[in-house]
């Protein structure tokens, strides 16, 4: 029977949506910060893969989830440093360098995984769900929505922190100016490059965290290409969210909903629709979202342009 429209189904769907949105929330909020400083990082996919792999490897070696998450963030930032060096210091084209980062991330993680881990077949412990007093006891939704692990809950914290950083701190004010009027920041005596490095490192650290969630909070194994395009979808989320962290949180949730729907509808044998139609849903919706939002009116003015002091 079709049990799509029951309240229980809806609650489960929303809970799954939040879980599936988590890597997107981290990566897209990171990318919002990076793009607000004028740096477009299409290397997110490779960066997330590094986070996923290094998080897995560190947790595999130590048995510790926090250490794994830290390793994921560090790996993301290491890739961020490479990206920042080539795009900010060398002033190379951001798309070209991003493409290289993706190749490196895909190649390096698959190479190391096949060399060291594929034969072990062993996974790692993943973060356990935590109940939140009162919220978890709500009827219907409490059980489905508030039985997540701490990494999922922390998406809210990261969103709040990103808002404070961007809109309530002088660092954020300057950072946004770097994306719109780098010349003004330069004339005011601050280093455009330093702010861009900072923004890229925050962004890639969050992307690494998003990747690490995949192996430490979602599946307990690393698989080659485990991110399956989430790094690219995060780029679309940023556009759809009009470069706002809160927007990125909710748009990510929307995409999480597409993922969750895809999984739930695949499990409905009565629906005579090929499963590939659901697989394609998030990618199709990304294109639709770009058409709906269109324009680049909200984009930072100097997005994608290296800053030249002359």
């Amino acid at each position: 029977m079709l049990d799509i429209l029951t309240l229980g189904f809806l609650a489960t769907l929303l809970g799954a949506a939040w879980r599936l949105a988590t890597p997107l929330i981290f990566a897209s909020i990171g990318e919002v910060i990076s793009e607000r400083a004028g740096v477009l990082n299409i290397g997110l996919e490779g960066t997330m893969l590094m986070g996923a792999f290094c998080g897995f490897a560190a947790s595999f070696a130590t048995g510790s989830i926090p250490l794994g998450l830290a390793a994921g963030i560090a790996a993301g930032m290491a890739f961020g440093l490479i990206f920042a060096f080539f795009t900010i210091t060398v002033k190379a084209n951001q798309i070209v360098v991003g493409a290289a980062i993706n190749l490196l991330g895909l190649g390096l993680t698959a190479f190391l995984f096949r060399t060291y881990y594929v034969s072990t077949g062993r996974g790692v412990d993943i973060a356990r769900p935590v109940r939140i007093p009162w919220l978890s006891d709500l009827p219907f939704f409490g059980e489905a929505l508030f039985r997540q692990n701490l990494i999922v809950y922390s998406t809210v914290l990261v969103t709040v922190l990103a808002v404070i950083l961007l809109y309530r701190s002088s660092f954020g004010l300057t950072l946004r100016a770097v994306g719109d009027h780098p010349k003004a920041v330069d004339v005011a005596g601050r280093s455009v490059a330093a702010y861009r490095y900072g923004a890229v490192l925050i962004g890639t650290g969050l992307a690494g965290l998003g990747g690490a969630f995949l192996t430490l909070g979602h599946s307990n194994q690393f698989v080659e290409g485990i991110t399956s395009g989430r790094g690219f979808i995060a780029l679309a989320v940023v556009v759809f969210a009009r470069w706002s962290p809160v927007g990125a949180f909710f748009v990510s949730l929307l995409f999480g909903l597409f993922y969750a729907l895809q999984l739930q509808l695949q499990a409905q044998p009565m629906l005579n629709i090929p499963y590939q139609a659901f697989q394609a849903l998030p990618y199709l919706m990304t294109i639709v979202a770009l058409i709906v939002v269109g324009g680049k009116s909200a984009a930072p003015r100097k997005l994608g342009t290296p800053y030249d002091e002359r």
Binding site: A99, L103, L106, G107, A110, Y283, I287, L290, G295
Partner: protein
């Protein structure tokens, strides 16, 4: 006024002795080859270090990956076979990148081409090969051009970033192909998801009997030459490049920026689609879910290494074919994961952009 300035603005060029002009052209060509060569050398060195650090033999990078693939005539034809899609895609992407259209979707466009070519190739039995083979190839090119054109249209009409849309169209093409070969186009007799076999009259003829190498390699080189002439010796190609450098200036000069962007996307998509058609009609003779090992993404590196010049794409496409063959050989002979080739490609790109920056720096100081 320095020599380079004279050369750049053209005035006084006649006064420079012809010998010196020739010498400078040779020097420029040498630089154009030497820098990419150095980039590849750096990437191979990094690959060797990576291998050595992880318990493999670092020398394999030279012995197996580069030299090992030239053992006999047959393996050389296999390299050329791999070069066909790489040259086609790389040369096509040069046009897109020159127009500042960041087409990351050649992989999807290849699949769109492979699907269209298969559709034609399994539908018309008994057609003359003289008609059938070109029809299949044109269908592939059209399929790819349409797939690329969608992203171009979304960019021109809705300002939707072509970077994101081409990537999403990659996924949709791959998923669509998977649906076709497991569903409507599936060969019911086969255990493995695949389409029916293309009619023999639709097969691309072999170039050298007894090998898998087909005439696609000639087509690829010829089309790269055509695209070079188009980009640098035709006014239409000039418009494409001007739009890439400055769309506003192009508009003032009466060029239609949107139309040129569409053209760039359709040409690069068409080349990728043609590559897909050659894969099904020349190599596999059936459509599979994973007909490309990532040629579309590799083509990006081919174009960048070539400095976005279609002529260079012939060389860099051949080089990446060597690397791909070599990495396959390494996996067989010494169990080195084949993905090493992606790492080397990534480092090649980074080295190329670093060298480009070094060449610009002295000019900036003056």
């Amino acid at each position: 006024m320095t020599m380079t300035q004279i050369e750049r603005d053209g005035r006084g060029a006649a006064a420079v002795p012809i010998l010196r002009l020739v010498g400078r052209a040779v020097a420029r060509a040498a630089v154009a080859v030497a820098l990419p060569a150095a980039a590849v050398a750096i990437a191979l060195a990094c690959g060797a270090v990576l291998l050595a650090l992880n318990g493999f033999d670092g020398a394999d990078v030279v012995n197996v990956m580069i030299l090992g693939v030239f053992q006999d005539f047959r393996s050389v034809t296999e390299i050329l076979l791999k070069a066909v899609p790489l040259i086609l895609i790389g040369a096509g992407l040069c046009v897109a990148f020159r127009c500042n259209m960041w087409n990351i979707g050649a992989e999807g466009q290849l699949y769109a081409g492979a699907v269209s070519a298969t559709l034609i190739g399994i539908s018309f039995e008994g057609l003359s090969p003289w008609l059938y083979v070109p029809a299949v190839l044109v269908a592939g090119a059209l399929g790819g051009a349409i797939w690329g054109g969608i992203a171009g249209f979304l960019k021109v009409r809705f300002q939707a970033s072509e970077i994101v849309t081409t990537i999403m169209l990659n996924y949709i093409a791959l998923i669509g192909t998977s649906w076709l070969v497991t569903g409507p186009m599936r060969d019911a007799r086969a255990a493995y998801p695949q389409s029916a076999r293309l009619f023999r009259e639709a097969w691309v003829p072999d170039l050298i009997a007894g090998t898998r190498l087909h005439i696609g390699i000639l087509v690829a080189v010829a089309l790269a030459l055509v695209l070079y002439v188009f980009l640098y010796r035709s006014s239409a190609g000039y418009a494409v490049r001007v739009v890439g450098i400055n769309p506003h200036a192009a508009r003032y000069a009466g060029m239609n920026a949107g139309r040129n962007m569409m053209a760039a996307m359709c040409i690069s998509g068409g080349m990728a689609g043609l590559a897909g058609a050659f894969e099904v009609a020349g190599v596999t003779h059936r459509l599979y879910q994973n007909i490309s090992p990532g040629y579309g993404f590799e083509g990006i590196a081919v174009a960048l290494l070539a400095g976005n010049n279609p002529l260079g794409a012939i060389l860099s496409g051949g080089l990446f074919a060597v690397l791909r063959s070599g990495s396959e050989l390494m996996q067989i002979t010494s169990q080195v994961p084949q993905v090493l080739v992606s790492i080397i490609q990534g480092i090649v790109i980074l080295s190329v952009v670093a060298f480009a920056a070094i060449r610009i720096w002295p000019r900036r100081r003056s």
